[in-house]
Subunit: 355 residues, 2 copies
């Protein structure tokens, strides 16, 4: 029997609790992964500080990369792309898993399936504990969409693919082709910079980045933003075809709608927490034939695109700026505090080999 | 030289002014139509009572049916469906016309073309006066999408095709397939009842109609609504796949969004006038992956569908209830007053043969 370390989250304002537990016997369709690196996503930070609620106790961290340690005997031994999987392969996987359900697959929204399980979000029940990135292992449940990672992908980048990158891939899918178009991106955290980078690769004519700090705008330029504005300094008469809202700020969503040209489309991603209501001029939405689409998480095609995008383009953008600081697993509480204070694109948690 | 009567609108709170003017010589690509019947659309009423502003003087009325009186020598003599046009044919036509522009055609939004001219809305300039339904003639400008009407279509129904019916056809296009779905329609004026009828023909599983008066709800049942509610009596936990907003009331738009299930879509059509802002919970739009689409007017395919729908299905629904009262052209001011007071689906204006 293996055992491994875990950091248990018991609720906001409580320090993470380091425990050592036995890894339960694998079900035949499961895969055991030795986690190697986890990046803290904005939603981890929101849960940690109490801005959002998850059922506790839980193990946080869902932007994970790891190495296959064991494969259940009835598993297909194939990843989502049909590539062979073996012990020792480096992988990432969809943050959500559910029994395949035709209705949600047909809607292109497997992330909204019934009986959904989410890595890094689920409550600990019995010995079902190894399902977050802040621990030595993840047990990948049956039906998990797993992706084998190419060797050239740096670990920290690989970790962000199954949340930040895939979500932005989904937002770009909802926005439709941006080729030759003017794209506004509000909120220059990791999602915003990824949106800028994808818009650039996809051939956008103009990319405008908006944030509330100059430093983030400078960084956005390095990811491909052609024009940058502090939110209070931009004029809504600068018209855009596509407005990608990554900040969660109501003012940013409203700015995006005001800036849309006739036939424009807004995609809202950022506000996965309570905010004041967005105030919309229905007449403008109608007369300008505007579309607004919300997106939460992503589907499997988005995750596939995210992996391909980062495989092909991670060297075209300054992703070396992404991780401002790294912490060992045992110091993850400090990592959260650092992230909340300094707001870097990401902090990284490295998870040592088992001793 | 022909001459004809016209009712000129000089601004809200001023009675319509009956004049007789000479019909100018037709340009070679134009067609002259003798108007026979015009229905008053909600936007005509809004303009008449000052709720919306049009440049004056103008000739109101754009839901028009008429008979071809003269065809310019360079006109193709074909309608939008490629059918031959000749003097004496009964026709309707798109309310808007512009030189064909690739960018707007590619967007599927010819109604937003540059240099757009709108029948029943345009300011009178020089001898360019015969462009509204409240007159004996309409001069159909070059590039107007004209549709020859089948003989079996009653005149009043034919009049509504180029605005009410085509707009609802556009809303259904934006909503996507409603087959097997639950559809909410808010606002049971003519657009709302047409939406109910189209949803029924397209195979919706459940159709819910919402209004502020019981009489409108009773009428909606006759058009196919399966469940009807006064807006204050419906519970938002009754989930719907599609919410079609035809009333323009902010409360109705908000109700529709609240009622949408995951992956649901709202189409806003009604609010073509100033209202208070719609208040939207961005987190709900995001987590439920909701889409909101505004629609103003329609494109040519919508108009084609509208004509086919009414040709095939006008006898399946109680369109004999649509016109509550008819007035001769000279009494159109009374028609506006009646419509504003009694809020029927439509009032009709019949335009006599020339004397």
């Amino acid at each position: 029997m293996k055992d491994g370390q875990l950091l248990i989250f018991d609720g906001a304002a409580k320090p993470l609790r380091l425990v050592r537990m036995e890894v339960p016997k694998l079900n035949p369709a499961e895969i055991l992964v030795k986690n190697t690196y986890t990046t803290l996503c904005g939603s981890d930070l929101h849960t940690f500080c109490g801005k959002r609620n998850e059922k506790t106790p839980t193990v946080l961290g869902h932007e994970i990369v790891g190495i296959i340690s064991e494969i259940g005997e009835s598993h297909s031994h194939l990843d989502f792309n049909g590539e062979a999987l073996k012990v020792g392969d480096r992988v990432t996987w969809a943050v959500f898993v559910a029994p395949p359900q035709e209705i949600w697959i047909n809607k292109g929204m497997p992330q909204k399936s019934d009986h959904l399980f989410k890595y890094g979000h689920a409550q600990i029940k019995g010995d079902d504990v190894f399902h977050g990135g802040l621990g030595d292992f993840t047990v990948l449940k049956e039906h998990t969409a797993i992706f084998k990672l190419p060797e050239n992908l740096p670990t920290a980048i690989a970790a962000t693919i199954n949340c930040a990158v895939a979500t932005v891939a989904g937002a770009m899918r909802l926005a439709g082709s941006v080729k030759g178009k003017t794209v506004l991106v509000t909120g220059m955290g990791l999602l915003g910079n990824l949106a800028v980078a994808m818009a650039k690769v996809q051939g956008a004519k103009e990319i405008i980045a908006v944030d509330i700090t100059e430093a983030k705008l400078e960084q956005a330029k390095r990811f491909g933003a052609m024009h940058t504005y502090l939110i209070d300094h931009i004029k809504a008469d600068h018209k855009v075809d596509v407005a990608l809202e990554m900040s969660g700020a109501p003012e940013a969503a409203e700015l995006g709608l005001e800036m849309l040209c006739i036939g424009g489309i807004a995609v809202w991603v950022g506000a996965v927490f309570k905010t004041r209501k967005i105030e919309i001029d229905a007449e403008q939405v109608i007369r300008n034939i505007i579309t607004i689409k919300g997106l939460h998480n992503y589907n499997f095609e988005d995750l596939r695109y995210a992996l391909k995008f980062m495989t092909d383009h991670h060297q075209d953008f300054p992703f070396d700026e992404m991780i401002e600081k790294e912490f060992p697993l045992a110091e993850a509480t400090k990592a959260f505090e650092y992230a909340l204070q300094h707001k870097p694109l990401r902090v990284g948690i490295y998870i040592d080999e088992l001793k």
